[in-house]
Symmetry: C2
Subunit: 321 residues, 2 copies
């Protein structure tokens, strides 16, 4: 039966805040709010607090009885189990497995709740409202503090046998002398193409050359500093993006051989560098990819509005309830 | 509607011969035959010849009217289009696109025909009759003259946007100074883990060391020679498998991050080395994989009977018709 309700709720759980939005079928955010997510240490208490905020927002939007369900994105979320597994940076979820989806569903008097991780949410967001509208085979790479991915094959998100598929940030891209990664391995894509990877590359290049650079004057360098300097023409900063784009493009070539996507979509803070990444990444991707896909796979950028991207993405999963 | 017919025909098209089998629901080959595939230069003529052989075999097996359809595996096959695209080693298919599935269906008076490549056929074969029975998420890696793959996610083969997904033999595994590959790139998995890759590694190691080895006496070294020498305790030959297994295991770690499979199944001539590959590959895979999958993904070997593996694999796709 076609769902006749016209709204979903999107929730984006972070370590500091949770954003909540009520969203219509076209991806318009008709009401939104932000609540703190770091004031509770008990998961039941946080979920009760969140449920009240959701109910209040639905009432404020005047769409009671019109909501399909809640789609939530959270760190370490497992869609298949509906749990958050050892989310280290969340006060009420660290060191344990929180059955988030069922807790919230109960607190919302049975309203359906689906939970997924940020990258899968981003992929659904692009498919429903963004750069992947109308596509059935694509990959979203989230380039933020870390690197994640949401893979869609034949119109469906790939969850794999355990719900954790699509950890492309932890594919080893450098075999020898690779950078240590937070996951415990070395040479992971994330150590090069995340915001942290970018500052790391910048510090390495500054160390290795005498080239003047505005980056030398910045005490605590961020990826944003590097991006601004690159756009302003700083040579070292541009080398950082050359290198980052090349590593990214080579990795994308391998992902293409896996699922032959129509497009790869870059999402997140680091992706705002756009052409700085696009040029080296496209070049490296088309050089390293199996020849049958040379110049065939589009490299695109997120089309979700910045401020709403996270809740739009999370909300999209609720349309599948 | 559940299909009530109890047999399928499997066809395996090679450059020299085509093998044909009639197969029941349990994977028993109830009749089989082999015809030459290199006596024709015209695709229509070969297909007419093949259709006659199929009809004769069905009659011989006494199962007329009981056949669901024909599943064919062929080089350069595209399942979505039903075509063979520039199959260089096939006399009647080189340098052109042959609409094989529709030609054969017509020649068989409308009997359904599905076409796929060898690696996808292998994956379906393992799922219906072999090591992947009961699994919904797994990857078959075919280690033969080349390296191919068939990827199953949530019970379905991955074809991707163009029908060519799963070219894992052409993922770049060595970034610097990688071996040139037949595909035109460098550093592809295939250049290390195929039969040709194994002889190449053996020749390199023989060159680099003075270690005595029975391989030094062989004029035209094959992967089979290396395997026999390794089982007989030859040190260089064992180093070849150590190296091959390590490269393979590292690559598998990346594939796991993509689709989180329950198992990876090794198929084909090179996989007959079994423990010679298993030990280094498992070790490297578990070292390089994202920690959440350490020691979680099974590395298995094909369970299809050698002589019948190709036609069993091809036939499996016909059950999906």
């Amino acid at each position: 039966m076609e769902n006749t309700k016209n709204y979903v709720v999107g929730v984006d759980i972070g370590g500091q805040t949770a954003k909540i939005g009520v969203i219509d079928r076209r991806g318009n955010v008709v009401a939104e709010t932000v609540i703190p997510s770091n004031k509770h240490t008990d998961d039941h208490e946080f979920v009760a607090f969140l449920a009240e905020a959701i109910k209040a927002l639905i009432a404020k939007a005047g769409v009671e009885g019109e909501v399909v369900g809640v789609g939530a994105g959270a760190p370490c979320a497992n869609f298949l189990k509906g749990t958050m597994d050892n989310a280290a940076n969340v006060t009420w979820a660290a060191g344990r497995i929180v059955p988030f989806a069922s807790l919230l569903q109960e607190a919302l008097d049975g309203m359906p709740v689906a939970l997924t991780n940020d990258a899968n949410a981003a992929a659904l967001g692009e498919m429903y409202y963004g750069a992947a509208r109308g596509m059935k085979d694509f990959i979203v790479i989230t380039l933020g503090t870390g690197v994640g991915s949401g893979i869609v094959i034949d119109g469906k998100l790939v969850y794999g046998s355990d719900g954790f598929a699509g950890e492309l940030g932890h594919v080893r891209v450098v075999r020898h002398n690779g950078r240590p990664c937070g996951c415990g391995n070395v040479g992971c894509l994330e150590t090069y193409c995340s915001a942290i990877g970018i500052t790391r590359t910048a510090r390495e290049l500054l160390e290795l050359s005498d080239e003047p650079s505005t980056l030398r004057d910045i005490y605590k360098l961020t990826a944003k500093d590097v991006q601004e300097a690159a756009f302003a023409g700083d040579k070292i900063a541009n080398q950082v993006y050359e290198f980052t784009g090349r590593i990214l493009g080579e990795a994308l070539a391998g992902f293409i051989a896996f699922s032959a996507p129509q497009a790869i979509i870059l999402f997140g803070g680091v992706a705002k560098a756009r052409r700085l990444l696009y040029e080296p990444a496209t070049k490296a991707m088309n050089e390293a990819v199996c020849p049958m896909w040379k110049d065939k796979v589009q490299l695109l950028f997120s089309e979700l509005k910045d401020s709403d991207a996270a809740i739009l993405g999370s909300s999209a999963i609720a349309w599948e309830l």
